[in-house]
Amino acid sequence: MTTSPHISVQNLNVHIENQHILKDISINIPNKKVTSIIGPSGCGKTTLLKSFNRLLDDIPNVKIDGKVLVDGENIYDPSVEVTHIRKKMGLLSQRPYPLPMSIYDNVAYGPRIHGIRKKNELDELVELQLKATGLWNEVKDRLNASATRLSIGQQQRLCLARGLAVGPEIILGDESTSALDPVSTNIIEDLFINLKQKYTIVLVTHILRQARRVSDYIIFVYMGRIIEFGPTEDVLLNPKEELTKEYVKGFIS
């Protein structure tokens, strides 16, 4: 691998309610690239993604073993401040969940909780991130309107802007386009491609076309194990493993 890893997972095992969800996962996520996690439903893709920012912590009866190093720091080390880890990563979930407040406050929420109070600083940040997600021109006249008034595609971009506003290094996308129409999907995909210049991006997707279009690397997960990992074209077009071949079969032909 040419670039150094941004996230390094070492022997990660996750049990939820006595079920072995992730089995001995070890993987290096390259810096400032888009890496897509693909695999059938229920294979553990989302669990793997959520292990990166410790969102698994609050799930009932969860047991996590192994290490996840972000910038060389084990995020599961007891001395680590969890809010500090999460601040490093922006999460974009399956459906947009705007906070119950105005468009402006949604973007300003993160910076505010991390101590930015000055109005002009917040104004600047909000404008910057709304521009970064291409939303500025659509909402600049109604920043105080409720975020729920936006279309679902706009809401998803707002959620991305909200995540970017805390200055993360990594963007995690959990099937972020699955609730969106094709046009909004394209906008989000384009955003991912642009954002990888500044951010490391990890996406969970079940759309192989999307995985091919936006990602540099692909991880194929099956039944809680990583079956194959490599550059996008290799995994999708010349899979080495039988299971991967089976899964991407429809895509190649």
């Binding site: 920012n53 979930s93 399956q94 995690l172």
Partner: protein
């Protein structure tokens, strides 16, 4: 074919009948209160306290009971909220990972929910004896608070559980602490909080047994937390027991007032729920 149609008709008829019975009894109750209460309803009833001969049919009103009831139900709801919101947040957002513990706590509140209000009255009375408080507005508020806490906790718990997990994940992912996340969740459930307030207030204002020993009864306006205070349900109870027709009639007028107070509270909270639902997902 004919069998399926008959079945459809049978069950539809059953549903219609059941609905008619329920709605009918609602109108019957309201109608009775109105028809019996209105003849005795006058401005004095809601602007005056009982005069010297009130209980033998002379002049006066039940303003003391109206105010007493509002104080007790309002005070108990506020006090109850101060205690219930942290409980609901705690079991949902802090110990959620330990399902066993939160379920035990939920079970405890389910049991408390089912306890008859006279038990809360008796328990409140014990607390009062322990602290040397006599039957008073404060005593009534304490007993009714005990009564409404399970209602508030259960309602708030239900409402918080309807908040999508992803909304919490969203704020947590931004590096928010659990308390910061809880504040967003509270914003999200504001309409639900009003529902809880409404339920609690409605239960508190109508309950007799819990205030029977604890609030006492007084013909004067409640002016201090340490003085006995009248409540509408007790006022109805006492007046209804009177052999004087005039006084019995006033019991219905008092019931009418109680119903109208609850109605006003309901309408007000409906309006507030609409107003605060603006940002809801």
């Amino acid at each position: 074919m004919i069998k399926r149609k008959l079945e459809e008709l049978f069950f539809k008829t059953l549903m219609v009948l059941a609905t008619i019975v329920v709605t009918g009894s609602f109108f019957l109750i309201v109608g009775t209160i109105f028809s019996k209460g209105i003849p005795y309803m006058n401005l004095d009833m809601i602007t005056k306290t009982p005069g010297g001969g009130f209980y033998i049919g002379k002049e006066g009103g039940v303003l003391n009971a109206i105010i007493g009831s509002l104080y007790i139900a309002g005070g108990a709801t506020i006090l109850g909220l101060i205690i219930s919101i942290p409980v609901a947040i705690y079991i949902n957002m802090y110990i959620d990972g330990k399902r066993f513990t939160s379920n035990i706590i939920r079970l405890a509140f389910d049991v408390l929910f089912g306890i008859p209000s006279i038990v809360y009255g008796a328990f409140g009375f014990l607390i009062m004896v322990y602290f040397g408080i006599r039957a008073s507005l404060l005593g009534g508020i304490i007993a009714v608070t005990l009564l409404v806490i399970p209602i508030l906790v259960r309602t708030l718990d239900e409402v918080i559980r309807t908040v999508p997990r992803e909304l919490r994940d969203a704020t947590l992912s931004l590096g928010a602490t659990r308390w910061e996340t809880a504040k967003v969740v509270l914003r999200q459930i504001r309409p639900g909080i009003f529902t809880a307030i409404l339920l609690s207030f409605g239960r508190g204002i109508g309950d007799v047994a819990s205030v029977l020993f604890t609030a006492g009864f007084s013909d004067n306006m409640p002016t201090s937390l340490h003085e006995p205070a009248a409540t509408l349900p007790l006022a109805i109870f006492f007046q209804l027991g009177s052999p004087v027709e005039e006084v019995q009639g006033r019991a219905y007028a008092s019931a009418l007032i109680l119903t109208i107070v609850v109605l006003i509270i309901t309408v007000l909270s409906e309006l507030l729920i609409k107003k605060f639902s603006k940002h809801k997902i």
